[in-house]
C-alpha cells in the first residue's frame, strides 16, 4: 500500500462506503479493543519501570560516586583526636572537595530508625562518620586508605563502590527488562491483531470473493480491514494508556527521593512518553493487518 500524506489523510478521514462493505463484527471487535487496552495499561507500567530504574541508576551513579564515608572506630577518648587527624589528611588529599564530620545530632537522626529517638549516643562507642565529597576529578581511594591506615588506625574508608556497583547493575538490568517488556508487549499486540485480522478475513471470505468479482482491488479490500483494526487498537490502547496514567498518578509519592518504590512514577517531560503508546499500538495494528490482509487476499480468489 502506497503511503504518503494524502493517503494518510484519506485513511484517517476514512471511506464510509469502504467501511460498509465489510460486515460489522460485534464481539470479536470488543475483544481486540480490550486486548489493546490491557496491553497499553501494561506498557505504561513497563515504561514507568524503565524510566524510574534508569533514573535511579543514574542518580546512584552520579551522587554516590562523588561521595565516600570514613568511619572512625576508636575508644571514646581517642575518637575526637583521630577524627581531627583524619580530617587533616583529607584536607591535603587530592580530589577531595569537602570533608566534614557528622555531628552527634546528625548521627542520632541516622540511627533513629533502628534504635529509636531516645538513644543516648554519648554513652555508646558509636563510630564517628566523616562525609567526604569528591571533586569532579575523583580521588585515589587506595592511596587515601594507605595514608589513613598509617596515621589514623581507627579509620575505615568506604567509597561505596562495594554496594553501589551491584545496585547500579541491578537498576540498569531492570531498565533493560522494562524496555524488553515494551518490545514484547508490542510484539504481542502484533500477534493478537494478526490473529484477529486473519479470523476476520477468513470469516469474510465470501464478501472478499464478491468484492473481487465486481472489480475491487486488494488495496481497497485490505483498507477496510486495516482501518478497522488500526482504529480499534488505537482506541483500546488510548483507554488503557489513560487508565494506566491515572493509576500512576494515584501511586503514593514519598518525600525520600532515593526510595525506589515511591520513585516509580513519571517525572517531568516523561509524562508525555506514554502518549506514544496508542500511536505505537495503532502503527503495529496497521502493519500487522496490512501484512495479514495481503497474505490472505492472495490466497483467496
Amino acid at each position: 500500500m502506497k503511503f504518503d500524506l494524502t493517503s494518510l489523510k484519506a485513511f484517517i478521514a476514512g471511506d464510509r462506503q469502504a467501511d460498509r462493505v465489510v460486515p460489522p463484527s460485534g464481539f470479536t471487535a470488543q475483544l481486540t479493543v480490550f486486548a489493546a487496552g490491557a496491553m497499553a495499561f501494561l506498557a505504561v507500567f513497563a515504561l514507568a519501570l524503565s524510566l524510574a530504574s534508569g533514573r535511579l541508576a543514574k542518580q546512584w551513579g552520579d551522587e554516590l560516586a562523588r561521595s565516600a564515608t570514613i568511619r572512625i572506630v576508636a575508644p571514646l577518648d581517642q575518637r575526637a583526636a583521630q577524627t581531627d587527624a583524619a580530617l587533616r589528611i583529607l584536607e591535603t588529599t587530592k580530589g577531595v572537595a569537602t570533608a566534614r564530620a557528622l555531628t552527634d545530632a546528625e548521627q542520632q537522626a541516622l540511627l533513629a530508625p533502628w534504635f529509636g529517638p531516645d538513644l543516648a549516643l554519648d554513652t555508646l562507642p558509636v563510630p564517628r562518620l566523616i562525609e567526604v565529597i569528591e571533586d569532579s576529578d575523583g580521588m585515589d581511594a587506595v592511596g587515601l586508605r594507605l595514608r589513613l591506615s598509617a596515621e589514623v588506625p581507627g579509620a575505615i574508608l568506604d567509597d561505596h563502590a562495594r554496594w553501589r556497583a551491584p545496585l547500579i547493575k541491578a537498576a540498569s538490568r531492570l531498565k533493560t527488562l522494562g524496555w524488553l517488556s515494551i518490545v514484547l508487549i508490542a510484539a504481542a499486540v502484533a500477534a493478537m491483531i494478526t490473529l484477529a485480522a486473519h479470523a476476520a478475513l477468513a470469516a469474510n471470505a465470501q464478501v472478499i470473493t464478491v468484492l473481487r468479482l465486481v472489480g475491487a482491488t486488494d488495496d481497497y479490500i485490505a483498507q477496510a480491514f486495516i482501518r478497522r483494526f488500526t482504529l480499534r487498537a488505537l482506541s483500546g490502547a488510548g483507554v488503557g494508556m489513560v487508565v494506566g496514567m491515572i493509576a500512576m498518578l494515584l501511586l503514593p509519592s514519598g518525600n525520600d527521593a532515593a526510595s525506589f518504590l515511591t520513585g516509580m512514577g513519571f517525572q517531568g517531560w516523561h509524562w508525555l512518553l506514554p502518549l506514544f503508546i496508542p500511536l505505537l499500538a495503532g502503527g503495529v495494528a496497521f502493519a500487522a493487518t496490512g501484512s495479514a490482509a495481503r497474505r490472505t487476499l492472495r490466497e483467496l480468489a
Binding site: 462493505v21 460486515p23 464478491v210 468484492l211 468479482l213 465486481v214
Partner: protein
C-alpha cells in the same frame, strides 16, 4: 475484446477444455451451450480472469492474462459484467447497495445512488425490493439483481452464466431484452445457457452466434437452432 487462442484447461487429472480458440469481437452476441459439466462455467471464468489457462493464450482487452497482476484483473472486471450461476451478494447490504457495489468499489460513489440505479432497478423489476436484504430475495429476484449489478458499470462485455435458470419465461424474456438492448448499444454479450427456446427467441431480435462445447472443444452450432 476477449480472445482465446488454443486454450486448454485441466482440473487435476483430466483435461476439461482443449484447443479452444474464440474471439469475442466488440458488439457481438454469443450463446454458449452444451451439456452440463462440459465446461461452460470454466470457459466463462477463463474469460474474466478467475482461472488461468493451463495451455494457450487468453487476451483480455489486448493484454495477455498471464501478464496481469491482481490489480489489473480488478480493472478488467470493471469492464466485464459477470452474472454467476450461483449469485453471491453482500448479505448485510441492501439490494440497491449491492447493485451499485461495482460503482462503490471503483470509487464512483457519487453515481451509486443516482438516477441510473433507479432506472436499472425498475428495469429489472426490483424497485419495490430495493431496501430488502439479499437473503430475503427469491431465486429469480437474485438473478435479476445480479444482472443489474453486472451492467451498472456499463461494461464493455457482459458474461452471463445461466442467467435465466431460476426465473419464469416472462421474466427471462425481460432479462433477455435488457441484454439485447445492451448489445445494441455496442456491448459484447456472452450467455451460457442450455435453454434452446431462449436462444431461438433471441435470434429473432439480434444476430447471435451459438457456440457449443462438445468433446472438450468448441464448435459453431449450425443454423438449425
Amino acid at each position: 475484446m476477449i480472445e482465446l487462442e488454443n486454450v486448454a484447461y485441466s482440473y487435476g487429472g483430466g483435461e476439461l477444455l482443449s484447443d479452444i480458440s474464440l474471439k469475442l469481437a466488440p458488439g457481438s452476441f454469443h450463446f454458449l451451450t452444451g451439456p452440463s459439466g462440459a465446461g461452460k462455467t470454466t470457459l466463462m471464468k477463463l474469460c474474466y480472469g478467475a482461472l488461468l489457462p493451463t495451455a494457450g493464450h487468453i487476451r483480455l482487452f489486448g493484454a495477455d492474462v498471464r501478464g496481469l497482476d491482481r490489480d489489473d484483473i480488478a480493472l478488467v472486471r470493471r469492464r466485464v459484467g459477470v452474472v454467476h450461476q450461483d449469485v453471491k451478494f453482500l448479505d448485510h447490504l441492501s439490494v440497491s447497495d449491492n447493485v451499485s457495489l461495482p460503482l462503490t468499489v471503483s470509487g464512483r460513489h457519487a453515481e451509486a445512488g443516482g438516477a441510473d440505479l433507479h432506472e436499472l432497478m425498475s428495469w429489472v423489476g426490483l424497485t419495490n425490493r430495493a431496501d430488502a436484504l439479499p437473503p430475503e430475495l427469491s431465486g429469480g429476484e437474485r438473478q435479476r439483481a445480479a444482472l443489474a449489478r453486472a451492467v451498472i458499470m456499463s461494461p464493455d462485455v457482459v458474461l452471463a452464466d445461466e442467467p435465466t435458470g431460476n426465473i419464469d419465461w416472462e421474466m427471462s424474456q425481460r432479462l433477455l431484452r435488457l441484454l439485447i438492448e445492451l448489445n445494441k448499444m455496442g456491448k459484447t454479450v456472452l450467455i451460457a445457457t442450455h435453454d434452446l427456446s431462449l436462444i431461438r427467441a433471441t435470434k429473432a431480435h439480434v444476430q447471435a452466434r451459438v457456440l457449443r462445447i462438445a468433446n472438450r472443444r468448441i464448435q459453431l452450432a449450425g443454423a438449425d437452432l
